[in-house]
Each structure stands twice: as structure tokens, then as C-alpha cells.
């Protein structure tokens, strides 16, 4: 009887971790799906992330951009499927082959080669000899079949050939596509100037990332261009319509008041992060257990070496055991190999975790300081791998090296005993200060 109880307890102890891990990973996965849903359906096309310093704004920017990429890919796939459903008599095997062959025959680094989808669809229609100027009525509205084909051709190109959904000034690595971002010049957002200067290259189906550091329309500039001559405000106001609700902008800001006053509009969501970002679901107990196990192994190894040393003492000129042990560890590289293992173990466990963000969505500028304001709270769960290590947070690091290399002096430790000669420094040299050489 006692034996069976012991067996049952042992079984339970071994089964419980499976249940906990299974439940937690399901919960986190579902939370991530609901984050995607929330982002897709509740937030506007322009999202600004606001929060105090060190709260996790940039990591949320990275995470949300990954969410945005997933939602763009889902939208593209939906569009392809819907087109196939509507134009069910067309052979899409043939259309896909023709289009992909056509796309692959160009190199997309030059402006001349960039596909003009109107022209491509004309070619396609001529080639297949199909009637395309019809309207399809779906009991709610009309869809032009030509427009459907243009969207299809574009979606196929974006999904299979371009395979890049991020435009940003700061370098950003995407774990979704395994690529770096496309270039972005923030002057392109000023559409009126951009049109005048023929300087505009924002694509469809992208998410635009604007860091506070790289944003020229930051807090220090918020009162410039009040009349919107450049067109930056108009672009943001009509953003959803210009890009047919396919694009997103995500920006980070510390000064939320300026942001709301400057860019408040119908499709702009202001997220305020109230709680510092935390990670969850990374099973740190495994790391702790392995670390303890290694310490345990090392302890026994040391005892064994002590015992062994008694017999080989003469070979080592009877040096103290600690010196021998130090030499032994270095010789066989035991501790460092183990710490390397622990390092990768820790990083791996970190990478499978999720980042948790808590905050609220502000609707009015006045809500910021009100405790009783009407706000919507949210919890975002985003995989850590999408949040950390993807965004180059030190874009201007080369400034320091440039400054140091350019300079002719170095800094030294001071010696207080040598009395500094203040007056000599002030009056000692005969150089005349200021400019005294005038010509009239």
C-alpha cells in the first residue's frame, strides 16, 4: 500500500511539469494571437508608443513591427485567396507561372525595372485573351475584375519576390523574413515637398518605423510648419486612404502631449506604457537546476582531484593543492566550457519566452493626467525573439569613434599635488583673445 502511494506521488511529480508547461505555452500562444487580433482590428493605422525612459518602448516597437508584418502577410494571403475565389474560372496556375517568370526576369535595384502593375496586368490580359473590364457584384458592392487582377499581381510580387515589409531609417532585422529593412528617408513623409522634388519611395504593404532619435518631427520640432506646407500632417491624416489601409506607421515618443496635439486624427492610436516590460514563459528553473548540477559536479571533481593529488604530489614538486587545482582547471578548460554551455542555455531559454507589456490607449490629450479618464487597457504578449536584438538602438555609435579619432588630445589621470597655475593659464600666453583685426 505504501509502495503504491510512493509510486503514485512519484508519477504525479513527473507528470505535473508536463501539464504546467503545456498550459502555460498554450496560454502564451493564445495571448500572442490575441495581440495580433488587437493590433489588426482595434489599433489605428498609425500607432505611437509613448512612455517613460527605460520602459520598453523600442522593444515594443520591434515587437509590434513583427506583429504588423505577420498581419500584412495574412492580409496578402487572404487577398490572393479571395481573388481566386471570385475569379474561379481563371487558371491561376498559369497566371502565377507567367507573373513569377516575368518578375524573376528583372533586377529590382533600379527604378526603371520596378514593376508597373497596370502595365503587367495589361500584358497578362492580352496574353490570356480574357475579358477583364467587368464589375463583379457581391450583394454588397461592386469590384472591378481588373482591379482584382492588379491587386493580385502586386500581392504575388510582394509576397514572393520582395519579401520585405519594413521601411525604417534605423537598421532593423526582421525575424519573420530573415532580412534587413528597406531604406526610409523621413523627408518622403512630407508628401508635398516629396512630389515637388520627385523624391518619394514609400511602398505599399509595408510598416514604417520611426524612432524618436531619427524622427525630424520630434518634440523639439513640433511647432515648426504649423500650416503644413510640407504635407507631413496631410500624409498622416490620409494615410489609411493613400495606401488602401495596407500600410502602418509605428513611432516612439516620450513627449505624448506634443504627439497628440500635433498628429491627432481618426486613424491614430496613442499607446501609453505604464508598466516596465517583463519577460515570462522562459522556464528559468531549468537554468537554475543545470547551474546547481554543474556546481555539484565540480565539487565532486574537486574532491576526487584532492584524493588523486595525494599520489601525484611528487610529480608537481609538492606545490599547494590550490595551485595544482587552478592549473588543472585551466589545463583541461573545464569551468569555461561549462560556463559557455550555461551561456547558450540561458540565451536559448530567454529566446523562447514572451515579453509582456501593459498599458492603456489614450483617446484625448486631456486624458494623460486624469486618473478617472476613459481609457482602454491592454496586455500585449509578444515573443521575446521579436522584441530584443532586432533593432539597432545605437545608430549613432560611429559619432564617438569619429570624434575620438579626429581629436589631437587624450585624457590623463590628474595629479592633485602639482598645483595648477591658474593665472599663467589665464594671462601667461601672449595670444590675444577675440578678433582685433578689422578692415573698414
Amino acid at each position: 500500500m505504501i509502495l503504491s502511494i510512493i509510486l503514485a506521488i512519484l508519477n504525479l511529480i513527473l507528470i505535473i511539469p508536463f501539464i504546467i508547461v503545456n498550459r502555460e505555452s498554450k496560454f502564451l500562444q493564445n495571448s500572442f494571437y490575441s495581440t495580433i487580433y488587437y493590433y489588426k482590428n482595434k489599433l489605428g493605422f498609425i500607432v505611437s508608443i509613448n512612455g517613460d525612459i527605460r520602459m520598453g518602448k523600442t522593444s515594443l516597437l520591434s515587437g509590434l513591427s513583427s506583429v504588423a508584418q505577420i498581419s500584412i502577410i495574412q492580409d496578402l494571403q487572404e487577398l490572393l485567396e479571395d481573388t481566386k475565389k471570385i475569379l474561379y474560372k481563371f487558371s491561376f496556375n498559369e497566371i502565377d507561372d507567367i507573373l513569377i517568370d516575368y518578375y524573376l526576369s528583372f533586377n529590382y535595384k533600379d527604378k526603371e525595372n520596378y514593376p508597373d502593375f497596370d502595365y503587367i496586368v495589361d500584358l497578362l490580359i492580352d496574353h490570356l485573351e480574357i475579358e477583364s473590364k467587368t464589375n463583379i457584384y457581391n450583394f454588397i458592392g461592386n469590384i472591378g475584375s481588373r482591379k482584382l487582377l492588379i491587386d493580385y499581381a502586386q500581392a504575388l510580387f510582394v509576397l514572393n519576390i520582395r519579401n520585405n515589409y519594413v521601411q525604417s531609417k534605423t537598421p532593423f532585422y526582421s525575424h519573420i523574413t530573415g532580412t534587413y529593412n528597406l531604406e526610409l528617408n523621413l523627408d518622403w513623409l512630407k508628401i508635398k515637398e516629396a512630389y515637388k522634388n520627385k523624391d518619394y519611395a514609400i511602398l505599399d504593404w509595408v510598416v514604417i518605423l520611426i524612432d524618436e532619435i531619427t524622427d525630424e518631427a520630434s518634440a523639439s520640432e513640433w511647432q515648426s510648419d504649423v500650416k503644413d506646407i510640407s504635407g507631413a500632417k496631410e500624409y498622416r491624416r490620409k494615410f489609411g486612404q493613400i495606401h488602401q489601409e495596407r500600410n502602418r506607421i509605428i513611432s516612439t515618443k516620450q513627449d505624448i502631449l506634443d504627439e497628440i496635439k500635433k498628429y491627432r486624427n481618426l486613424t491614430h492610436s496613442h499607446i501609453q506604457i505604464d508598466e516596465k516590460v517583463s519577460t515570462t514563459g522562459n522556464y528559468n528553473f531549468i537554468y537554475n537546476f543545470v547551474e546547481k548540477w554543474f556546481k555539484f559536479q565540480l565539487f565532486f571533481n574537486k574532491q576526487y582531484q584532492k584524493f588523486k593529488y595525494l599520489f601525484i604530489r611528487k610529480k608537481f614538486n609538492k606545490i599547494p593543492f590550490n595551485d595544482y587545482y587552478y592549473w588543472y582547471l585551466n589545463e583541461y578548460n573545464i569551468t569555461r566550457r561549462k560556463s559557455n554551455y550555461l551561456y547558450y542555455l540561458k540565451q536559448f531559454l530567454k529566446s523562447i519566452g514572451y515579453n509582456r507589456y501593459y498599458g492603456r490607449i489614450l483617446k484625448r490629450a486631456e486624458d494623460i493626467e486624469k486618473v478617472t479618464a476613459d481609457v482602454e487597457e491592454f496586455y500585449f504578449f509578444i515573443p521575446t525573439i521579436y522584441c530584443f536584438g532586432t533593432y539597432d538602438t545605437h545608430l549613432y555609435k560611429s559619432m564617438q569613434t569619429d570624434l575620438i579619432k579626429n581629436s589631437n588630445i587624450i585624457t590623463k589621470e590628474i595629479i592633485p599635488e602639482l598645483n595648477p597655475k591658474f593665472f599663467e593659464e589665464e594671462f601667461g600666453n601672449n595670444e590675444v583673445k577675440g578678433v582685433d583685426d578689422f578692415e573698414f
Binding site: 503504491s4 554551455y341 542555455l345
Partner: protein, 68 residues
């Protein structure tokens, strides 16, 4: 009653053995996963265990005496 008790013991014991096998399999796989990654990274950054064996060869016997 005795039969039932025995069969309970057998069920619990076999379950325990299955669980232990599963655990040892998971631990082995996980361990080899991290160790494979270690080896891969060693290759990338061009550090093999050979460096240590090279060091050993380079150290002459006189130097070794000094260390000791």
C-alpha cells in the same frame, strides 16, 4: 483485492518507467541540442578545442616545470 492491488502496482510502476524514459530522452535531446549549438558556434568563430591541445604542445617541458 490482492490482485487489484498488484495490478495497480504494475500500472504505476510501468507508468513511472515510461515517464523516466521520456524524461531521459528529453534531457538527452536538449543537452545534445545545446552542445551541437556550441560546436557550431566554435566553428563559426574559429575556435576549436585544438587551440587548447596546441597550447599544450607549445609549452616545453622546462616551462612546465616552472609552472609547477
Amino acid at each position: 483485492m490482492i490482485l487489484n492491488f498488484k495490478s495497480l502496482l504494475i500500472i504505476l510502476g510501468s507508468l513511472l518507467i515510461i515517464l523516466l524514459v521520456v524524461y531521459s530522452y528529453i534531457i538527452k535531446r536538449f543537452n545534445s541540442f545545446i552542445k551541437d549549438h556550441q560546436k557550431k558556434m566554435d566553428r563559426y568563430i574559429d575556435i576549436n578545442q585544438n587551440i587548447y591541445s596546441k597550447d599544450k604542445e607549445d609549452v616545453s617541458s622546462d616551462d612546465k616545470k616552472d609552472i609547477r
